[in-house]
Amino acid sequence: MDFYYGLAQTVGIHTLLGLSAYIVLLTGQVTMAQAAFFAIGAYAAGMLTVLGGWHIVPALGAGAVFGAATACAVGFPALRVKGLMLVVATLAFGEGVRLFFFNFDYQVAKGEIKVGPLGGEGFRQIRYFQEHGWSTGEVMLFIWVFVILSMAALWWFDRSRYGAVLRAVGEDELAAQSVGVNLTAVKVSAMTVGGAVAGIGGGLYAHYTTHIEHANFNVLLATFAIAYPIVGGLKNVFGTLAAVIFVQAFLIEGLRFLGDWRNLLFGALIVAAMNLRPQGFLGGRRA
């Protein structure tokens, strides 16, 4: 059973990553920076539980706050660039954050061994779950509490006026401005909410893998972050969840028996999915 719990944990963590991109994509901003907020959440929460000895929940809260704060800081300059320029700017920001953690050393002696992030060699022993005797099943439930909370919040946003305004900005910024929508507030708030969700996801990821290093948060992860909502469709939050299940559960785990052919199929199936359902599994922005 452990394997299925583990798989459910991975799906949960990647759903949080996908949701963080979902809300930003609603406003029409194609962002490749979600992996950076994910990394910030991972390192922040990891350091707090390992070095600071915090309980996991406040540590995740801090991860969300750090993620949100950075996202907010990125949100403002991001207003100045559109379309491809935004893609490149956020991609460069993501690489910048990855390189920051590549050079980031902060070790504290705990007992006889030194613990904490050590630049290129990464950050070892983030074993909060194991040390506190949480079984794989309990960890899965814990992760999915956050996933369901985030999905409920975003579902609520979607049904509220905020959701309509987000989509209006995504549709036609000029028209939205003309009916009185404050573009800056909407786009930056979407980026901030995305940053918070990515921060939580990152914090959980750090404790799931127990060792994180700069290479985990590379360009490919940033691409996956936007792949989930796009492949799944931007109609609602379940699109992202469906895409995460398609990629993580079916493509990566389900086809594992194919051995090395699986990776070949991986790219081909994404291309096929996009050609068959360009608007995403659950329908989406364009009828």
């Binding site: 290129g120 990464g122 070892r124 799931y208 060792h211």
Partner: protein, 392 residues
């Protein structure tokens, strides 16, 4: 209708009989896709070859005296941390008694992290599954968990012996300059914690080192640093792709040190295929060369399973024979009910081992579940790795 039911029943009985013959499952996992795909292919081939040899000799003796065939399957983790973890959990769910792998050090670190740290620590809910690593070579990983064991060369002793030997062979070589693949965990640890350390310990003066990244392609400034340092010995702690890049740039800038030293993982076909001319004369300590009788036999059998024999895949071959020895010495029951008890016995068996018979001679096993393997120095000459010196 009745006739069909009878036929079906018979069929079941037949397969039932055939299944009487017991099996022991050993599951390997490693990178069979992605850039280090060749390591995964070779490890799988070596494991299948070893299992084939063992099964031909009658398989392995279980606690109740019956013989069991070894069944090997191999899962691909794409050299990715998350997949390594879910692969191990998948293996934990099968009837495999031990997992052999992974290939990449950046997978081994998180993997050993989710294992139970101390064996009988009830408070630690980490996975209780013995993992016997064949390839991931970064120094000091096994101490992360008492369920993790490694049969990988101990780079510290190898490079210490190499620098000691170089002292005698090239007495006028006094200075060393290093080159490090800064963002690859294994290469980085092997320079700072191993080569630099051991060189200084053997009286060499380390003038410094230049750094580059795993997928760098322009080494102009690094090689110029080397040129300015003008050291007698240049030690490159990097994998084949960038090693070749640096060697070609050194040729362009006319940098010709007296002695060229390489990283253990670069003593493979890849380096020779990439830059045989420039790598001429490079000396690398390695824990395998097909010079002993068993070594040659192992290499031939592995080749039959379409795998190349190098220090990594031959470690997988040795793992299989060590596990056979442990299964028999620890009286593994082999029946599905006792699975967790069997796994615990294998763990304890591996922990007890102080010596194992390797392809190159006796391998000593250390207190913290690492291996101290016999080694030798190979040198690249005319497109082949030839044995230069066998210190043992």
């Amino acid at each position: 209708m009745k006739k069909i039911a009878v036929a079906v029943a018979l069929a079941f009985a037949a397969t039932g009989a055939m299944a009487q013959e017991k099996t022991i499952r050993i599951t390997g996992f490693g990178a069979k896709s992605g850039v280090v795909r060749s390591f995964g292919i070779n490890s799988e081939a070596a494991m299948l070859a070893a299992a084939d040899v063992i099964n031909k000799q009658g398989g392995v003796k279980l606690a109740d005296g019956s013989k069991a065939k070894i069944v090997v399957d191999f899962l691909d983790d794409r050299c990715n941390a998350e997949e390594g973890i879910s692969v191990l959990r998948r293996i934990y769910g099968t009837d495999a008694v031990v997992a052999v792998g992974p290939t990449c050090s950046n997978v081994a670190e998180p993997l050993f992290g989710i294992l139970q740290k101390k064996v009988d620590d009830k408070g630690d809910s980490g996975l209780q599954m013995p993992v016997f690593t064949d390839v991931a070579i970064k120094v000091g990983l096994a101490k992360i968990s008492e369920w993790a064991f490694r049969n990988v060369p101990n780079e510290t002793t190898m490079y210490s012996s190499l620098f000691y030997w170089l002292k005698t062979k090239y007495p006028n070589a006094k200075t060393v300059f290093g080159g490090v693949e800064e963002d690859f965990a294994h290469s980085r640890a092997s320079w700072y914690a191993v080569m630099k350390d051991r060189a200084e310990a053997n009286g060499y003066q380390v003038l410094g080192n230049s750094k580059w990244l795993l997928n760098d392609t322009n080494f102009a400034t690094q090689v110029r640093e080397m040129k300015n340092a003008n050291a007698d010995i240049v030690a490159i702690s990097a994998h084949p792709f960038t090693t070749c890049g640096v060697l070609k740039e050194m040729q362009r800038q006319g940098v010709k040190p007296k002695v060229l030293v390489g990283l253990t993982s670069s003593s493979s076909l890849e380096t020779l295929q990439g830059c045989a001319k420039q790598a001429e004369g490079m000396i690398i300590p390695t824990s395998f060369a097909p010079i002993t009788k068993e070594g040659k036999a192992a290499a031939e059998t592995t080749a039959k399973f379409k795998g190349a024999a190098d220090l990594h895949s031959m470690a997988a071959w040795e793992n299989m024979f060590i596990l056979k020895q442990v299964i028999e010495s620890e009286k593994i029951s082999g029946d599905k009910g006792q699975l967790q008890a069997d796994r615990r016995k294998i763990r304890d068996g591996l922990a007890k081992l102080r010596e194992t018979k390797g392809l190159m001679g006796v391998t000593k096993r250390t207190e913290d579940r690492e291996a101290d393997k016999p080694y030798l120095f190979v040198q690249a000459s005319k497109g082949e790795w030839k044995v230069l010196h066998n210190p043992l």
